[in-house]
Structures are given as structure tokens and as C-alpha cells.
């Protein structure tokens, strides 16, 4: 089972529409490009952190989990910026990055996957003349979410088969049977969809 990053809640942030949240996120991103000076940047970072932990009620633990993957980058920024510029520049770059990542994480944590998928489907509407149908995009998204555990299961099965034959550490030998099985599954799935009324072309 693949579990999304969405954290259920009933805050103002949770109840705002996904489209509006994305627009605000882009707005903050734009503001960050033009915002100069450490004090306004610091105020923005603290503000976003406050909205994240308290207004949206996601707590400090979530905020930390959103920040943790950045730590190595923050270290790199600190080292390189102090080397090529100064400490002030380093703090500026760090504040910008943290503000942007926190905002994006806030949108992801507070928005249902289905609401986000609706926005994507709506964004696809102008592409309809190019042959992109929102329904097909939505179907592909749903299908792929279902297929990830199926593919992972295939990987596990092949590893089990090889382990039973004494090939515990043959990571590379696993790829070929996994891929041939996946390609075979594609044919089966394609037939199943054609049997249910999809075009053959659609199922390639």
C-alpha cells in the first residue's frame, strides 16, 4: 500500500481549495525572488512556520520531517556561500529555500490527493485539442497508483525465487525477470482494457 503524505485535519488551510493554495504557493515563490534583506525574509520564514505548525495544526514534528531532507543542502549552502560570498548571503539563500519548501510541504500535507488530482485534470483541459483528455489522465493516475504495489510485489516474488535457489545477493540478475514480467503484465492489462471498451491505441 502506498500512503500519501496528506495529513487529515479541519483547519482553515485544510478547507481552502487546492487551486487557491497552489496560487498562493506560486505567489510566495515569486515574492521570495524579489524580497531582499534578512529581516523580511526571517519574518516570512517564521510566519510560514507558524501557519504550518499552528494554523494548519500540523505540529513541529511534521515541520521537522519536511526540513530534514534539506539539512545536507543547508550544510552545502553554508559552506559554499561563506566561501564565495559571506555569512549573510548564506543565511539569505537558506531562508529562501526553507520558506519555499515549507510552503510546498504545507500544501501537500493539507490537501487531499483527489483534490490535487482534480486541479491537474483541470490544468489538462486547455490541452484537449492536442489529444490530452483529462479523463484519460485521471485514469492513468489511478491505474499507476494501483500498479506500484503490484510491481513491487513482482520484485519481491522474483527475489524470493532467486533466494530459494541460493542467489541472495544477485541484485542485477533480478532485473531481467522483473522486466519481462512487467512487460507481460502490460500485455495482459492492455487486453483487459480492450475487453472493457478502451481503444487498442489507448492501451499501448
Amino acid at each position: 500500500m502506498i500512503v500519501g503524505l496528506y495529513m487529515p485535519g479541519d483547519s482553515t488551510i485544510h478547507n481552502v481549495s487546492a487551486a487557491l493554495k497552489l496560487i498562493v504557493m506560486f505567489a510566495i515563490g515569486t515574492v521570495l525572488v524579489f524580497l531582499d534583506g534578512l529581516v523580511p525574509l526571517a519574518i516570512l520564514v517564521i510566519g510560514i512556520g507558524f501557519v504550518f505548525t499552528s494554523v494548519a495544526g500540523l505540529g513541529a514534528g511534521r515541520l521537522w520531517s519536511a526540513t530534514r531532507p534539506l539539512l545536507i543542502w543547508l550544510a552545502i549552502i553554508a559552506a559554499t556561500q561563506i566561501w564565495i560570498a559571506d555569512g549573510e548571503a548564506a543565511i539569505g539563500v537558506i531562508f529562501r529555500l526553507v520558506a519555499l519548501v515549507w510552503t510546498a510541504a504545507l500544501v501537500t500535507f493539507s490537501t487531499r490527493l483527489t483534490d490535487m488530482a482534480d486541479v491537474i485534470a483541470r490544468l489538462c483541459l486547455p490541452l484537449r485539442p492536442l489529444g490530452v483528455s483529462p479523463d484519460r489522465v485521471a485514469f492513468l493516475i489511478a491505474l499507476t497508483i494501483r500498479l506500484i504495489p503490484a510491481v513491487f510485489e513482482t520484485v519481491r516474488e522474483v527475489r524470493d525465487v532467486q533466494r530459494a535457489r541460493g542467489l541472495e545477493r544477485a541484485y542485477l540478475a533480478a532485473f531481467v525477470p522483473v522486466l519481462t514480467r512487467v512487460l507481460g503484465q502490460a500485455d495482459v492489462l492492455s487486453d483487459a482494457l480492450v475487453a472493457r471498451g478502451f481503444d487498442r491505441w489507448d492501451t499501448q
Binding site: 564565495i84 510546498a104 532485473f175
Partner: protein, 172 residues
């Protein structure tokens, strides 16, 4: 279907634990193998779309990148460019692989062009902008990933040839 399956496969490769490789300072994740394998096996259009589909799923809030990362945050972080590079890179591998026949060496070259040069060409400038670094410094930092990516380009080429032999419909 191949689009969905290769998007799922690349996601599943990200669930595998990173393999530590001797002499390579950064852990090598299997995920970019998915990019190269898709390019070698399902053609340019479908492999590009498969990567795009994977990025959409990540943007929707699924933790499908290696290490359980995901959500919109990865698209504003320093490595966002590499993710966009996957789409164009997989497409490029597909084009190159289709044009230059089907030997292991040709696929290795295709993987190096699409999976390394194109992906880095997107990744490095974005990283330089996000981290406010000169381009050369960002490029220098990416060198750490080069040995691992070269190994993956080789693995993907060998695997893709074997899969094509076992499943002749692939790669067309």
C-alpha cells in the same frame, strides 16, 4: 499501459534500499535505472510520458522518490531540475536507442547521453539557481554522482539487451 507500468516500476525501484557502492561517496539509488530502462525499452514518447506521469504522482503528494520523499516540496528544492531532466532524458534515450540499433554499447552510449548528460543539463542549472551558486561549482558538486550514474548506464544497457532478447516486442 507501458506508461503506467514503467512509472510504477521507477517508483518501485525507489522503494528499494540504496545500494552502497565502494569508492562512490553518495549512496546509489536504483531510481534513475528506471529512467534509463524505460528509455531503452518502451520508446521515446512512452518513456517520456511515463516519467511525466511519475512526476505528477509525486506532485500530487505521494512519497515515491527514493528515501520516501515526495509532494510539492521536491519541486522547489535544489534537485528539482534533475526530476524534470528525467522526462527529457528518458525521451532522449528512446530517440537515441531507436536510431542507433541495439547493441549493449549503443544503449550504454544512449543512457550516457540521455540519462546523464541531459539529466545533468537540467539538474545543474536549477541547483545553481536554488542554491545561488556559480554554474561551475554546481557542476563540480554533481561529479560525485557520476561514477554511480555511469555504473547504472552500464547495468541498464546490459539488462535492456537481455530483456529485448527475452521479449522481442520491447524497444519498438
Amino acid at each position: 499501459m507501458l506508461i503506467a507500468l514503467f512509472a510504477a516500476l521507477t517508483a518501485a525501484l525507489g522503494l528499494l534500499p540504496p545500494i552502497p557502492v565502494p569508492l562512490v561517496p553518495v549512496p546509489v539509488t536504483a531510481q534513475t535505472l528506471g529512467v534509463m530502462l524505460a528509455g531503452c525499452l518502451i520508446g521515446p514518447r512512452r518513456s517520456g510520458l511515463a516519467m511525466l506521469l511519475l512526476l505528477v504522482l509525486i506532485a500530487l503528494g505521494l512519497p515515491l522518490l527514493s528515501g520516501g520523499r515526495g509532494g510539492l516540496a521536491v519541486f522547489v528544492g535544489p534537485s528539482a531540475g534533475y526530476l524534470l531532466g528525467w522526462v527529457v532524458g528518458a525521451f532522449t534515450i528512446g530517440v537515441t536507442a531507436a536510431r542507433w540499433g541495439s547493441s549493449t554499447a549503443a544503449l550504454f552510449v544512449a543512457n550516457c547521453i540521455g540519462g546523464i548528460i541531459v539529466v545533468y543539463a537540467f539538474g545543474i542549472p536549477v541547483m545553481a539557481v536554488v542554491l545561488d551558486l556559480p554554474l561551475t561549482t554546481a557542476a563540480l558538486g554533481s561529479v560525485a554522482f557520476l561514477p554511480g550514474d555511469l555504473i547504472k548506464a552500464g547495468i541498464a544497457a546490459v539488462v535492456a539487451i537481455a530483456v529485448r532478447r527475452a521479449y522481442p516486442a520491447a524497444g519498438q
